[in-house]
């Protein structure tokens, strides 16, 4: 952030055509120096924290029944084992596929319905009871119904995932579109913008931070969908591993499978963040903005 601000400031102040000078970038506030930690130590603190935690876990875990809790070293070994047995990678990639397809469908459908509800008061009134109802219903209970509709394959898992994720995306999108400032809509009327242009040029770009907030919440819910669907529906993939290892009390392997599923979620989050930066290149830069 500070690099971007410095860059813009230099370019502006060197331009001779400028009559109204941009006020200088605010100086970086000098932070009071911490007496407890040096800067390097502060940076390393998260890593140190994790290492200490793993150490305590290793010591405590070594003293109790391995069925109740496996030690980190055992979990590490379990990773290597299930990878060698060819169980890990297919389960991981399958989870990524279900997540991608489920969240993708939820995103397309959710954003479309959200925009419609955000722009049309009628659509908002027609659809909001359902959104409110499904948002608060524990939809995972509908999984058996999904199995009846879609069978026990990939499609059913994608359906469960999308069904869980879509509601937050709808709500956030419609809220973001509805929050479009009236002043920008006035501006669009001055230049005779049609509804298509208002949506494309104003409402959706304005809603992008909201949409991505919805996608992040949707991603968390989708991950529940991915694992639960595999546990309940197909007994394949990561959910299948979790179910099987749990049933056979292989705690170290169970934890390894769970950690892998959080990796899936983390990768999803990183991809979302990359897409967000590409979709909203102005968003980072706008923080450089001077007052007034």
């Amino acid at each position: 952030m500070s690099a971007a601000s410095g860059d813009a400031g230099v370019r502006l102040s060197h331009d001779p055509a400028v009559e109204v000078p941009r006020s200088p970038a605010p100086a970086k506030p000098s932070r009071p120096r911490s007496r407890t930690f040096s800067r390097a130590t502060k940076r390393a603190l998260p890593a140190i924290s994790v290492l200490v935690f793993l150490g305590i876990w290793q010591i405590v875990g070594g003293r109790i029944n391995p069925i109740l809790l496996a030690t980190p070293s055992k979990v590490g070994e379990a990773f290597v084992d299930i990878n060698r047995e060819g169980l890990l990678w297919p389960a991981f990639s399958r989870a990524m596929e279900v997540l991608g397809a489920g969240l993708g469908i939820a995103a397309v459908g959710g954003i479309a319905l959200g925009v419609l509800m955000g722009r049309s008061e009628t659509a908002y009134r027609v659809f909001s009871p359902y959104v409110a109802f499904f948002q608060t219903t524990p939809l995972i209970a509908l999984t058996p119904l999904v199995v009846i509709w879609f069978g026990i394959g990939f499609e059913a898992e994608v359906a469960v995932t999308a069904m869980l994720a879509v509601w937050s995306i709808i709500i956030n999108t419609s809220e973001g579109v509805r929050m479009t400032p009236d002043s920008l809509l006035d501006m669009s009327r001055i230049y005779h913008a049609n509804e298509r242009s208002v949506i494309r040029d104003i409402a959706v770009p304005h809603a992008i931070p909201y949409i991505f907030a919805g996608l992040r919440i949707g991603l968390a819910k989708a991950m529940i969908g991915v694992i639960i669907a595999e546990m309940d529906v197909s007994l394949k993939g990561l959910g299948g591993l979790v179910e099987n290892f749990g049933n056979s009390f292989e705690t170290a392997r169970l934890l390894a499978a769970i950690i892998t599923s959080s990796f899936v979620g983390v990768i999803g989050t990183v991809i979302l963040e990359i897409v967000r930066r590409r979709a909203a290149p102005w968003a980072g830069k706008s923080r450089v903005r001077t007052q007034v």
Binding site: A17, V18, P21, E195, R289
Partner: protein
Amino acid sequence: MKRGGYLVAEDSNGRVARTATASPAVDASVRPRIEIINASKRFPRPDKSGETFTALADVSLSVMQGEFISLIGASGCGKTTLLRMMSGLMPCDDGEIYVSGKPVVGVPASIGFVFQHPELLPWRTVRDNLLFALKQRRMPRELKDRAVAEQLELTNLQAFADYYPGMLSGGMQQRAGLARALVGNPDVLFMDEPLSALDAFTRRQLQQDIAEIIFTTRATTVLVTHEVDEAIFFSDRIVVMGTSPGRVNEVIDVPLPRPRRHSDLIGNPTVAALRDRVLGIVLGVA
């Protein structure tokens, strides 16, 4: 459009019918660019009593082609309401408003509007913000690009064409707002306190630049302001408005050649006398 549903059909039909019979009798060349005839506006009171208060009562005003007028008055005098009615953002309850000889029903075809805050699209570069004003025009892309390039040059923004608004200072943003308002070569330019959010030095500089740019384009301009000095600096005529109900108190001529420069106005006795007079009316002591 969702929020544009205020166009009352029978109202518009009635007005269209009236101008159709009236306009042939009037020579278009001498007809004022803007005509306001007995316009009124009432708003419902916020307490849900069902009563209304009168924001503007029976306002009549004409603005000639190329003229610069300012609407000035205390808050609540309806100056912004009047501007929004002229620009078609808000319908009037009684009376008629004509822009370029046509009754105002919705936003007139060729106007520009500079808002109090720049209202640029943060997700578009300065260049694309200007293009947005031309988006609905049926003209080849090359002509649009050329019009935008020329306008950027006129407003001294060439170097910032590819900047996002968030990277510009407030003064530069408002300059871009003016460029967008002018890029379509509008018949009428409306400005709603466009400089009120800027510091005094930026404001003076921008006032001079705007005065010159507008003088070059010869656009008819209506400015809403609460700064007496700003009104005197820009205007051919100053419309001093009063409150409860909002109305036109007095219209004052500014007999100084345009475009003006602040340095030329220092110590000018005409300016001093005008300032006293306008302030006297605004403060209710004249």
